[in-house]
Symmetry: C2
Subunit: 263 residues, 2 copies
Amino acid sequence: MEKLFVVKIGGNVIDNDNNLSAFLTSFANIPGRKILIHGGGKIATKIGDQLGVESKYVNGRRITDDATIDIVTMVYGGLVNKKLVAQLQAKGCNAIGLTGADANIIPAVKRPVKEVDFGWVGDVNATGLNTANCRLFLDNGIIPVLAPLTHDQQGHILNTNADTIASSIAVALSAAYDVRLIYCFEKKGVLENVDDDNSVITLITRAKYKQLLNEGKLFAGILPKIDNAFDAIEAGVKEVLIGHADDLMQNTTENTSGTLITN
Amino acid sequence: MEKLFVVKIGGNVIDNDNNLSAFLTSFANIPGRKILIHGGGKIATKIGDQLGVESKYVNGRRITDDATIDIVTMVYGGLVNKKLVAQLQAKGCNAIGLTGADANIIPAVKRPVKEVDFGWVGDVNATGLNTANCRLFLDNGIIPVLAPLTHDQQGHILNTNADTIASSIAVALSAAYDVRLIYCFEKKGVLENVDDDNSVITLITRAKYKQLLNEGKLFAGILPKIDNAFDAIEAGVKEVLIGHADDLMQNTTENTSGTLITN
């Protein structure tokens, strides 16, 4: 099978123009098939503030009301997404900016109201992803750049976690490609010692993960990321890489510098 | 050759939710290959006002400064474009929302500064349109929905007139398809008597146009639209139709109710 790199970047890369430009150069230089998924960055909150739309939270989780979905549609789907696409085009990468509504790539369902009404938030319909259209793009040299937005197939855009979109699309395309899912974050990888940025654990297998858990060596905040990585691997993704955005190029090779997670 | 309908709607359709929904139902029902190009509507001005960005004009023409290009990228490329795409998806039309930067569909050049610096305004590079990617979408049942934005291939989004985008894409694709370019506006067609909405001139050939001009029967405001239509026909478009958004469905048949312009 052909290789496919599914790369997710967060707001910390998007918010800094110099970091972003360097990152996009690396991404443009990855040979072959690749997909970029981006988060939002601080700009949505800033524009929301300017428009007088207050960010609402319940138990620390953001609520996407009518005004907020319009803002994230504008900012994530418009401003941020098209900025990335235009810059990638300038670097010779034939990017296409998409939300989950475009070509019906990522259908979702509005999260059911239980204790909390999250508003216009979408849970990905994992078995419904339009992999045929993704493959059409990838196999014709067109590089999808996905905003963290999906749709309910009833006419509404939904706000969706970018990490979830990345793992969903990686899983859905793992039947057609050898997928490496790369999460770029602010550290070089999973650290054995949180105070030492150079203590990267370069390989985590299931056996190694058990051992690390038993030894109590891992920082609690990283555990959900590793659990999600193994969920993606269980569902078909070949390997997951957690590393720094600056190390993207190396982390697409066999000689990775971040943390490679595999069975 | 297969038929292709290139349909342009303006702000008057976008600004009214009921009109828009009815229009999108008609558009979704057009069989075969089709492209939608949308203008902006009043929402960009409204959001600009809320963000404290003043609309600047020189000689009645809008200037697209740094703050304004961000707003139109958000509003045209994000809010309006994704609203149309999500609603078309709900109506069974496999729409994909694009700016000219996406898949490099419409490269442009930043308008050179002469008497006036229009800012981030793009003049379409008419011979550079990526017709291969357009055809890839169209021939695979994916329906492009184009925002009035292009790019300079150097990393910048540019503001571009929606009528120009519509005619440029219609011309570029006329080598591959029998193209009917449909401009939806607020009248049923070109009127013989501007005070009588039912006095539509149903067919304008070049000979008929000369005759109408000689008779002084045409309203001056419509002349640029007709001139542009003949320019498009000269460049390969089979026919141009000027009509009301409500009449879209009929205007895709042979039994048109608007004004059909042809050689």
